[in-house]
Symmetry: C2
Subunit: 410 residues, 2 copies
Amino acid sequence: MPVNLNLPSAMPVRGAVLTTLVAGLKSSGTADMVVAQLAETARTAAVFTQNAFCAAPVTIGKEHLLANKGHVRALLINSGNANAGTGQPGIDMARGHCQALAAALEIPEESVLPFSTGVIGQLLPDAIMRNGIEKAAQTIASAPESEISQWTDASRGIMTTDTQPKLTSQTVLINGQSVTITGMSKGAGMIQPNMATMLSYVFTDATIDVADLNTALHDAVDVSFNAITVDSDTSTNDACVLVATGVGEALDVSHAQWPDFMHALRRVCMDLAQAIIRDAEGATKFITVKVTGGKNTVECKQVGYSIANSPLVKTAMFASDANVGRLLMAIGKAGVDALDASKVTVSLGDVVAFSNAGIAEGYTEERGAAVLAKAEIDVIVDLARGDAAASIYTCDLSHDYVSINADYRS
Amino acid sequence: MPVNLNLPSAMPVRGAVLTTLVAGLKSSGTADMVVAQLAETARTAAVFTQNAFCAAPVTIGKEHLLANKGHVRALLINSGNANAGTGQPGIDMARGHCQALAAALEIPEESVLPFSTGVIGQLLPDAIMRNGIEKAAQTIASAPESEISQWTDASRGIMTTDTQPKLTSQTVLINGQSVTITGMSKGAGMIQPNMATMLSYVFTDATIDVADLNTALHDAVDVSFNAITVDSDTSTNDACVLVATGVGEALDVSHAQWPDFMHALRRVCMDLAQAIIRDAEGATKFITVKVTGGKNTVECKQVGYSIANSPLVKTAMFASDANVGRLLMAIGKAGVDALDASKVTVSLGDVVAFSNAGIAEGYTEERGAAVLAKAEIDVIVDLARGDAAASIYTCDLSHDYVSINADYRS
């Protein structure tokens, strides 16, 4: 059961046509292939996993993005198989499938970006993929633009262990015209993105050049997808893509309303990133770790992740056990240089639990437990050594996490 | 149920008298205080946790060890309460309890090292501690030396969530005389020691000066207590102590039989470190991650810990699921600089699972699963970029780990 997963509702984005189908990659027989066809005016930025064992589609996607300079015409996404750890045959396959889609849509091969998610270490079934690509190209040729069902179907088609699709929109007025930003994400485990996240696709109908798109994407990802963790594990297939279809208003970083656009983009990315945590494997609590008073955001994130990734903190949260000692342990092991532990303050929600080097005056375990009994928990740590701050979003560690991951492939 | 926890049996060490009692710190009513009285000839080395929130006894222990230059006369150990996160009152209490024991035993205050383990963030009950210390001092005054029951009782008295006491010995012939090395450890969770481990006490009746004792301790700890992890969490109270009581043969680093002594000492430390993993919270598998072909041992340990701490690897091990993809993911996220993933080989026991950038020829999931079905699993990773190697010892992540840590204080 997701924890309070209620996303603002989604709108279609002009300049993109999506199709979703059952190619036959998932034993469940549910949708497992999504193709997005982008207008000729579209420009695209993307960030990818830094895992050294990055998947074949990540390798090809980076190569194509470099070659096409952001002029992407199609996204080819499959779930059910990650095409990772598959060596040269996997690379050849990812390239071949891009070629097949490009031929069918009559666009350059390098204008296709491939994405795969699912089990690692197994070759994609080539015939099933090619058959699906053929069908998708036929469907998309006759498909109308701007149908919301295309977007809801696609958000389901990219799911693996997610229990809920994650799709949301924001609109912002630019030059008096409505600009739409719509994003979708998948991911529920193997989540501690590193410069990217699981698969996330954000589309806007604005017209933005590739350099500014890259700036916008990195800015938004930094506070959203790069601030979440389920289990400290970084996927081989992480990618986050931002497409500006270029059929709407023109925008650049010097535009007076760029901050409004960025605010809306950050909101979409933040909502999706938090949705991943709310739907994380086995999650029963949504936990925000706010670290303030750091010398820089790097050390704030370091402390935030140390708490958010501690199995002992996560199991205590699952039990609603106000075990302040485990929070101190996690802060203390974070490796912050010359941290003065006696100055640190730790609060659970608005209840100060630890200050002045000891349990805070007036703090009782009952007051702490009352905060932790809720489904939404704020853990606030003040390091009292500077002005930097950062928030990390995570969930608890429950029996269901173990069950889901012990049984994933069986 | 511990995984194949069978330690070589233990012998008492001359020059040390131990007493164990129920002071009343544990709600279970089991033994919770151990006092060790050491001969005047004894010399001691110790390593402590690097957690910034180190406990009051760690602070006082370091201070005393500096002041007494290794001339330690007594160890004062309590379980049931860690005296961590307790600020100045905790420091005052640790100091006061050392004073009380020193007065009762008529030894200098700074010759006492205090150790606490248990719940973090609660003040020690002062009267219960002082009452226990008084009783322990009386018992020890009339206690005979070299009784094995003192050692088995003590190994039980330091336990918290351990299901089994951990006590073992090795003997080695030095100058034709028998020298004994006996060690005990506690710890089952919050285990990724950093320059030390949970509480471990190793005694020998050899005569060794403080400098050589320190060399010996660091050497032995590096490959044993500093090579294990249950859950990536580093305790606030970790300490490992090596006492040479000085009533037996004299030894120093230039002695012809120093290598024999070190071999036996490493064996004691390795057996205890592995015993901690075998008795780890919820463990059903004992896993050795051997990393070879690294440029240096640091990067080998980095890869080893990345695998050993990955919740997705640990849950797959619990399920005996030969999910090679999760191993690749964990190697890839370890942060090894410029790792060439295409050269990495991964084996499960003697079954090669991944090589030449793809699933190994002849590998089948059935062959992998057969290895993982055993209680003792070797994961072997060859990085093929150098001659360094390191082994990390860990366990799987089971439902019982979650249960134990969700319920620890309830």
